[in-house]
């Protein structure tokens, strides 16, 4: 179940990356992707504990953008969103199974 979901989300993300890399991304595109990612992160954080990786990826993206590499920046920003979505997916799965680990 989890693997399937991971693959699905990964496939989606790859699709995004391929789309954007087909033509070079620019600053506006990065800003738009960043806004969307921030929304995804904050939605996820209101429900579950984020992975540390999401915010690290956003920092990496900001560095790439500052260096003018908007293709990479957009890719990293999307990956940050993906990691937030995976954190939510894990938490939802765990809701159903955590009780099994408690000694009875």
């Amino acid at each position: 179940m989890k693997r399937k979901l991971t693959l699905l989300v990964a496939a989606l993300a790859t699709g995004l990356v391929m789309n954007t890399s087909a033509m070079a991304a620019d600053a506006a595109e990065y800003e738009a992707a960043l806004d969307k990612a921030r929304q995804t992160l904050s939605d996820a954080e209101s429900k579950v504990q984020l992975w540390t990786t999401s915010e690290i990826l956003l920092e990496d993206a900001a560095r790439a953008a500052a260096a003018g590499d908007f293709d990479l920046a957009v890719k990293l920003v999307n990956e940050a969103s993906l990691h937030a979505e995976l954190a939510v997916a894990t938490a939802e799965r765990e809701k159903k199974v955590w009780q099994k680990s408690v000694p009875k």
């Binding site: 992975w51 540390t52 999401s54 915010e55 954190a87 680990s101 408690v102 000694p103």
Partner: protein, 274 residues
């Protein structure tokens, strides 16, 4: 309405869990008794040193003159230092704050929140017109260390009062402990129950039982004394889960659950760890 919702929530929780906190605690002791049949469970208040002989020897040498004694002494001085209004910490706590740490965290039935000792110390300051202290280390950790020191040998006695919100806080802490999180998808339980006493890379992992009896701790890695929530943050970061703020409700609930699991064990803080 709110109470009704809480009751509904609890009904769901109880329907799933059945077990009372006391049943949880006894089942946990049984879990470790079966995993480590030759171990005196009370030794688990010494964390990994209950399992790792080589590390234990070095720890005992540290105990010859543990670096946390500096913190206890500084904490005693701060504890006895009157506030600007002439009152002091002793006025905020039962028994003048001496020998009471085993009762923390406690559930405040007025605010409906878990109150850790650190929260109580800063509340005392605020009530007396003083600025709150930073949570992780320094003066607050020193005072906490002194208050632990005066409580050494007392048995942990965390109470869950007859209030659905208290039980909900306990249950929230319990769920947190057993839920996988972070990119590495580790629950506290994965390391400190399943793998307790085993090596993770080069380090022996401590067991859950007794994990709350010995705080604050001077960690050689930190090079200073620090409070339990610092360690929570570190554990979270190690499994790549974004740490919460120290003394956030999530961590306070976790400490409430964790401390209840140590009930009946001797308080032995402050302590030194690698």
């Amino acid at each position: 309405m709110k109470k009704f919702l809480i009751a509904c929530f609890l009904f769901v929780v109880m329907a799933n869990a059945y077990a009372t906190p006391e049943e949880d605690r006894l089942a946990l002791r049984e879990f470790f008794a079966q995993r480590f049949p030759d171990l005196d469970l009370n030794e688990m208040t010494n964390g990994l040193y209950a399992f790792d002989e080589g590390a234990r020897e070095q720890w005992l040498e540290m105990e010859d003159f543990p670096p946390y004694e500096i913190a206890i002494e500084a904490g005693e001085e701060d504890f006895n230092q009157p506030f600007a209004n002439g009152k002091s910490y002793a006025d905020c706590f039962e028994n003048g704050g001496i020998g009471i740490r085993q009762n923390y965290p406690r559930f405040d039935t007025e605010t409906g929140e878990v109150v850790t000792l650190e929260v109580a110390i800063n509340k005392c300051r605020k009530d007396n017109g003083e600025e709150p202290l930073p949570w992780l280390t320094g003066e607050l950790a020193n005072i906490s260390a002194y208050m632990s020191y005066t409580s050494r040998g007392n048995k942990m006695n965390v109470v869950i009062p007859d209030d659905p919100r208290a039980l909900a806080a306990y249950e929230a802490g319990k769920e947190y402990y057993y839920t996988r999180r972070g990119q590495l998808e580790f629950a506290c339980e994965n390391c400190h129950m399943q793998s307790a006493g085993s090596l993770l890379r080069a380090d022996t992992l401590s067991g859950m039982l007794g994990q709350a009896t010995h705080w604050p701790v001077y960690r050689s890695k930190w090079g200073e004394i620090g409070t339990l929530h610092w360690r929570f943050q570190e554990c979270n970061a190690q499994v790549r889960a974004k740490p919460y703020e120290a003394q956030s409700p999530v961590y306070r609930n976790l400490e409430y659950f964790l401390s209840y699991m140590s009930n009946g064990m001797e308080l032995n803080g402050p302590a030194s760890r690698r």
